[in-house]
Amino acid sequence: MNAESYNIETTDNFLEYAFYSEGPKGRIKKVIRFTPQNAYGTTYFNVGFGDWDYEENNIDDLVITNNYDRDKVLATVAATVLDFTEYFPNALVYAKGSTPARTRLYQIGIVSNWMEINQLLHVFGFTEKNGWERFVKNFNYEAFMVFRK
């Protein structure tokens, strides 16, 4: 990823990553988790991403951080997917935002880092109209699934 990004840390099972967004709103902890799940007998990993809420002691995925580092955050999240799939190359990774706006952010993240992502991952997008298809830029998807090349 040539875009500016944050350094990350991970657990020793590589299922979780964290980093700190830094900007006018301060230092905000971001957590990404790849949760194993099963559908139709196929194991895949759901990627979830949100801010750590120190008051509630949980993840808040609906907060709008406004730390003026959107692209840097998205490049960092993309890096966690690349790292996870390098370690688990046979894992299917599914992503869908909690709101259409969040899903759109994932899409922006994929497009912004497309050169690196496309070299290393098969990327599919889902729409109600077309079902699953290979990811194409300038097309809005409702969900994504990736697999290491």
Binding site: T10, Y44, D60
Partner: protein, 77 residues
């Protein structure tokens, strides 16, 4: 307990700090990092994803690619 997909996957990473392939991002392995496996948000997201995929299915092409790779891997063993 480790999920079955976590077992026997790849050799352990040797370095505690490494550069993520294809990026400028440095990653540090922190065994003391707290787990958020039980966070309601992640549990809810995983459940929603299951419901969604059971409704629409997986990308057929991707399943084929995966199947071929798994077959190839098992033949190499």
């Amino acid at each position: 307990m480790k999920h079955k997909s976590e077992v026997n996957m790849l050799p352990k990473r040797k370095n505690k700090k490494y550069k993520v392939t294809g990026t400028n991002v440095w990653c540090t392995i922190n065994p003391d990092m707290p787990s958020h496996a039980n966070d309601p948000f992640f549990i809810k997201k995983a459940q929603e994803s299951k419901e969604f995929l059971e409704k629409v299915g997986f990308p057929e092409e991707l399943l084929k690619i995966r199947e071929e790779r798994l077959k190839k891997n098992s033949n190499q063993k």
